[in-house]
Subunit: 126 residues, 2 copies
């Protein structure tokens, strides 16, 4: 395989991969909200994503600051209820993020399976 | 859309998504190494991933501790040269990670596009 050229500089920097969204717990939160267009209560979101109160709160604050989600405080019967929804911006940014990620994966997988040659097999027995 | 049921608990926890690999810079490093089966020098890897010396070093240490990469110290002419390679374990774990990620993306995208109804359109004008 040829060594990297100058043209390859930054090729694997993945600039398009939004760090605000690229966090395991946030990925779960955003996927939950994308699947529930009417929003999800705080309690349900905690269960869906297997997060603690504190952890979920911290991630929601970060996502809200980035205008990706909206948090609505209301009541269910007499009890207070917090409902979380994806904003239009959040939906757009998350779908864009998923598309970037898809491109990275297909690129990585296509690079992983070059046509095997005898020389390769000898150099890389594993 | 129906509210989450008990069966959905942890559905978006994405347990299979390995945190050691799920970091933007590490994703770039591993994808670079997957594309260069003979390994990449420290200098080339820095360029490919657009990382500083310190940042790349820290991530390589973490990946080496997890037995995902091997670091070989050698020389090129009279100058010391560090070469980084994906281990067999690293290749296996990274391909598994990519497969998990692919599943998450296709799941999220399939949930994102339910058949639109008039009620949905009224509730979710955005």
């Amino acid at each position: 395989m040829t060594p990297p050229t100058d043209d390859d500089a930054g090729r694997f920097a993945f600039e398009g991969l939004d760090r605000v969204l690229h966090e395991k717990a946030r990925l779960g939160i955003l996927a939950s909200l994308l699947a529930h267009r009417d929003g999800v209560t705080f309690t349900d979101l905690k269960d869906l994503c297997a997060l603690t109160d504190g952890n979920l709160s911290r991630h929601l604050t970060a996502l809200q600051k980035a205008s990706l989600i909206a948090i609505e405080k209301g009541t269910a019967g007499r009890r207070p209820q917090t409902r979380v929804k994806l904003t239009a911006t959040g939906k757009k940014r998350f779908l864009e993020y998923l598309a970037v990620l898809e491109g990275i994966i297909s690129g990585a997988l296509s690079n992983a399976t070059p046509p095997a040659t005898t020389a390769d097999a000898q150099l890389n027995p594993a």
